[in-house]
């Protein structure tokens, strides 16, 4: 039980880091550089997927979906 609790704490930390990264990646996606825009998008959506893969398993509500829709 203890190790699972520790694992949950570690995963929650990872999830928090990824949430912060997604905010930054959304900013990158505002780029108009045709060479980099798609690459930023690629990075951003990888982060979004990882955010979902590290979401808390046992909670009242999961985090909202980090979808391919970028923040305005």
């Amino acid at each position: 039980v203890g190790s699972v609790h520790n694992a949950a704490e570690k995963t929650a930390q990872d999830h928090q880091i990824l949430g912060d990264m997604l905010v930054q990646a959304d900013r990158l996606c505002r780029s108009r550089d045709p060479l980099l825009k798609g690459q930023f998008r690629h990075l951003r959506d990888r982060i979004a997927a990882l955010l979902d893969l590290t979401a808390p398993l046992v909670s009242d509500e999961t985090a909202p979906l980090a979808s391919s829709e970028t923040a305005p």
């Binding site: 694992a7 998008r41 690629h42 990888r46 979902d52 046992v58 509500e61 979808s67 391919s68």
Partner: protein, 476 residues
């Protein structure tokens, strides 16, 4: 091999739940906790699709389902209508290219995949987002890490890479995100060239192949007098998918290679693997077939009687119905796969985990069934009968109409190197043994004849050993 004989050690796959904190969490979920995760993800998925997909919005509204107010999985299963291949084909025909089920903007499609078209009923088209492509990789990495693959390992991918299939792109993504060193040899090198490459590498840790191709590769090694377990002492995992096999074949493969044989169930609609043997291998510790444990927090599975559409009981065969909980581009929601599997409830798996399971080695297709002389015959059943004989390298079958309008079935077998009985009497006895094994599993007597190995086709992915030529016999 009896249950008492020692099986190969699982090596690095001995306890993936100890190695991975995330896997430990997933393994510790109780069934109510797992279903709560499913419900939360499902509600989120349906809310998103109600806003983004006309196909699914129409279905939700017709079922009077408000995604935000969904409180039980049962309500979803009872009210939301099933979709099938014909529904998806009609959707994409009426609304090209991807149909109204796409659920994302067209400019967010980062990968296009199609189904194989082997059904003869058209090819479904799927558009996946960048986020989905990562999930595609994850849904390959997940079963492979469970099976013992680790960062830095050397992996041989025998499945043809790229193209338009999900299976062409998923392995590459999965191996990259794990951090394995991958050689994508499928479809690009002959079997002998693959063997030469592997001998040069020597320290290969992992092979991914269709069941049929692992058989071909093993046969190719033996034909050259190479013992796989001696040539590749670092091999930790053989991972197969896509086709059924007899238990005896799996036992022989583990013995020949000196490592565990693992299996996954996957499909285009699952966007990779939906379940796997984890670290346990395809053989049960008590003898017989092992289990593939389903990744139900990513994909929701139902196993239904294809006629009544009622859930089957644990231990019974049924049709797999899938719902993607984490895929946003062209998601499958209550999609009838046509895949036949034996369902095993989490309470009966003996794993201690809350994950439901399906039986290894017996996945089939309901639409592969051949009606022969009033009997329902599945190619997988004939595979099991034929490959229970170690002497047989491969076979091909055809059903045809004879000159006097009778249904005939011909099974052409080719012997493995040095395995053909020298005496005519012994050879006839062997053929009768194969005939009897086929009759026992199918209730149909078939004609068995011997042919050269070279006269049989070689398949780099899914084998298509059977041809139904009966209609040709009716041509005037």
């Amino acid at each position: 091999m009896s249950a008492q004989l020692r099986r190969p050690d699982p090596g690095g796959a001995s306890n993936p739940f100890a190695d991975s904190p995330r896997l430990a969490q997933l393994a510790a979920l109780t069934r109510p906790e797992l279903e709560a995760v499913q419900l939360r993800k499902l509600r989120r998925q349906l809310q998103r699709l109600h806003a983004s997909s006309d196909y699914y919005r129409t279905r939700l509204d017709a079922a009077r389902l408000d995604p935000g107010a969904l409180t039980t999985l049962d309500a979803f299963r009872q009210q939301f209508p099933l979709s099938g291949k014909a529904d998806f084909m009609a959707d994409q025909t009426e609304h090209p290219i991807f149909g109204q089920r796409l659920g994302i903007q067209g400019d967010q499609v980062a990968l296009v995949t199609m189904t194989g078209g082997t059904s003869g009923k058209g090819q479904e088209i799927y558009g996946r987002s960048q986020r989905d492509v990562h999930m595609l990789g994850h849904l390959h990495a997940l079963p492979w890490v469970l099976a013992g693959l680790r960062p830095g390992d050397i992996a041989i991918n025998c499945v043809p890479a790229g193209g338009l299939t999900t299976g062409g792109w998923g392995p590459g993504e999965g191996l990259r995100i794990i951090g394995a060193t991958a050689f994508h040899v499928g479809g690009t090198l002959s079997t002998d060239a693959k063997i030469d490459l592997m001998l040069g590498i020597r320290d290969v840790n992992f092979i991914y192949a269709s069941t049929n191709y692992l058989h071909t590769l093993t046969e190719g090694l033996l034909r050259r007098g190479i013992e796989p377990r001696e040539a590749f002492p670092a091999m930790r995992t053989l991972f197969i998918a896509a086709e059924g096999y007899p238990v005896e074949w799996a036992e022989r493969i583990e013995t020949l290679w000196g490592c565990r044989l693992q299996e996954g169930y996957g499909s285009t609609q699952c966007v990779g693997f939906g379940g796997s043997t984890c670290a346990d291998g395809v053989l049960s510790p008590t003898g017989g077939r092992g289990l593939m444990h389903l990744f139900e927090w990513e994909t929701m599975f139902e196993v239904l009687d294809p006629h009544t559409l009622a859930p089957v009981a644990s231990g019974e065969m049924g049709e797999l119905v899938v719902t993607n909980l984490a895929i946003e581009g062209s998601p499958a929601i209550r999609f009838r796969t046509g895949d036949a599997a034996r369902f095993v409830s989490h309470q009966d798996t003996g794993s201690g985990r809350a994950w439901n399971a399906i039986e290894c080695g017996t996945i089939g297709r309901f639409d592969d069934m051949m009606k022969i002389r009033g009997n329902n015959v599945w190619p997988a059943a004939i595979d099991a009968a034929v490959f229970a004989h170690a002497e047989i390298a491969d076979y091909a079958g055809r059903v045809y109409t004879s000159a006097d309008s009778k249904t005939e079935i011909e099974v052409r077998i080719a012997f493995a190197a040095h395995a053909e009985p020298a005496e005519d009497a012994a050879r006839d006895h062997f053929i009768q043994s194969v005939r009897a094994a086929i009759k026992e599993r199918t209730n149909v007597w078939m004609t068995v004849i011997v042919c050269d190995r070279e006269s049989l086709p070689e398949f780099s992915y899914k084998a298509r050993r059977w041809r139904d030529e009966r209609q040709q016999g009716y041509r005037l």
